[in-house]
Amino acid sequence: MKKIFSSVTVLLIAIVLVSCNKEDQHAKKLYKNQGRWTIDYVTTQLFDSTGAVISDSTVKNIGELVLFKSGSLDALYGYRQAVFLYTDSVTHAYPFEYMFDGKRISIKYCDAPFEIDGTYSAFIDKANEQQWEIYSTNGNTNAVTSLTGKYIMHLSRSEN
């Protein structure tokens, strides 16, 4: 009886371990090692109907993102606290909230003059390199519509 009880207990522990929130593991990749990420560049591309690039602009030296483990007011949805260290002539700090589930990064409530709010798709997801992209189309959200624009943010882990 004791053996059955111990087996069942361990099985339940195992189930709990397996069902641990995967989103936490994805977010940990971002906030670990002080969570400082340098924004290497932000590129905006526009495409014509054939898919050819008609406009391509890149901005560099924008600043850093500091991503924390601490949950934000929207922690129920997996959001955490963060700060955008925006570099103009001087550096300003703008708090925001972020959520990362391995495929999507949602950034909101950032009041920086350089717009970073939005829901991105993770194009590159590595421990020391991230590339997040927002896509735009010219049509219905449910129809087949071609890509008209792409907003790319490339980040690398800041050296401490």
Partner: protein
């Protein structure tokens, strides 16, 4: 790592005299039948027929993946064959995908990940180098549907510019029955197993079942705007109804439920570690 530790813990608690510990690793095949996804694939193909070059297959292709299990084995066979009992627990990690390609070169991609925590109990006859058994299986299933839109340059979007984009999760306890056979040498057997996985029991209609939902915060925010169309917080079964009125579609339970079923096949290597030689 957590899964491996869990398996080792379970096995450690199961040590006793006359017992044998066993580990197995193998390949799993699951030609699933998933009614909700069938409806979605069919209605999606119909709705966008004019734009589709290669439609969704009617059903997800056979899901394949790996299993790793460990457990406790009793095989009393003084001479020839004897009683065989084996209880194992472990994980099955399966994946399958289906894609519709449009005439403009872009595509709608659906990838279904099925992570299962499995506990099997087998009863039968066994000898030193073989066993035949019937088995029962209980599976705690953690399914995730990755639904994305792939653009002409290969960019894969999970973003809100397409309402169906998202990561939809559904969990469910499932079960089934089957049979297995193993052959080999003393401490190593090749095991072939087949188990029929049944649909979850339904109560008060299908609303009792878990459905594929994506409760990402940005979707919830968009849903509060009052617009009739916003990024889907659930995977719709009937795409036409979803397009007609997403809000009505929600209230009429137009969801894909986790109710896949079918035969699951496994081919594995079982390593037996005697504890009382």
């Amino acid at each position: 790592m957590k899964k491996i530790i869990s398996i080792l813990l379970l096995i450690a608690f199961n040590f006793e005299s006359n017992a044998q510990v066993n580990f197995s690793i193998g390949k799993t095949f699951y030609p699933l039948t998933a009614p909700g996804f069938q409806t979605f694939f069919t209605t999606y193909n119909n709705e966008l027929a004019a734009d589709i070059k290669t439609p969704f297959k009617y059903e997800f292709p056979t899901a394949t993946g790996w299993s790793i299990k460990g457990g406790y084995l009793l095989n009393k066979h003084d001479d020839g064959a004897g009683f065989y009992y084996n209880t194992t627990t472990g994980v099955n990690i399966l994946k399958t995908k289906n894609e519709a390609v449009f005439t403009n070169g872009e595509s709608r991609k659906t990838v279904l990940h099925m992570n299962e925590w499995i506990t099997d109990v087998s009863l039968g006859v066994g000898g030193e180098n073989f066993h035949f058994a019937i088995n029962g299986t209980i599976q705690l299933r953690f399914n995730k549907l990755f639904c994305s839109y792939v653009y002409h340059d290969g960019s894969e979007s999970f973003g809100p510019e397409k309402n169906l984009n998202g990561i939809f999760s559904a969990n469910r306890l499932m079960g089934g029955f089957g049979a297995e056979a193993g052959f080999g040498i003393k401490y190593l057997q090749v095991v072939f197993k087949a188990a029929k996985i049944y649909k979850p029991f339904e109560k008060d209609g299908s609303t009792y079942l878990s459905y594929y939902s994506d409760l990402a915060g940005y979707k919830a925010d968009a849903g509060l705007t009052g617009n009739s169309s916003y990024p889907a917080e659930y995977m719709p079964a009937d795409y036409h109804s979803f397009l007609t009125d997403q809000l009505t579609s929600e209230s009429s339970n137009n969801f894909v439920y986790i109710n896949d079923h079918g035969w699951q096949f496994g081919l594995s290597l079982m390593f037996i570690i005697p504890t009382n030689d």
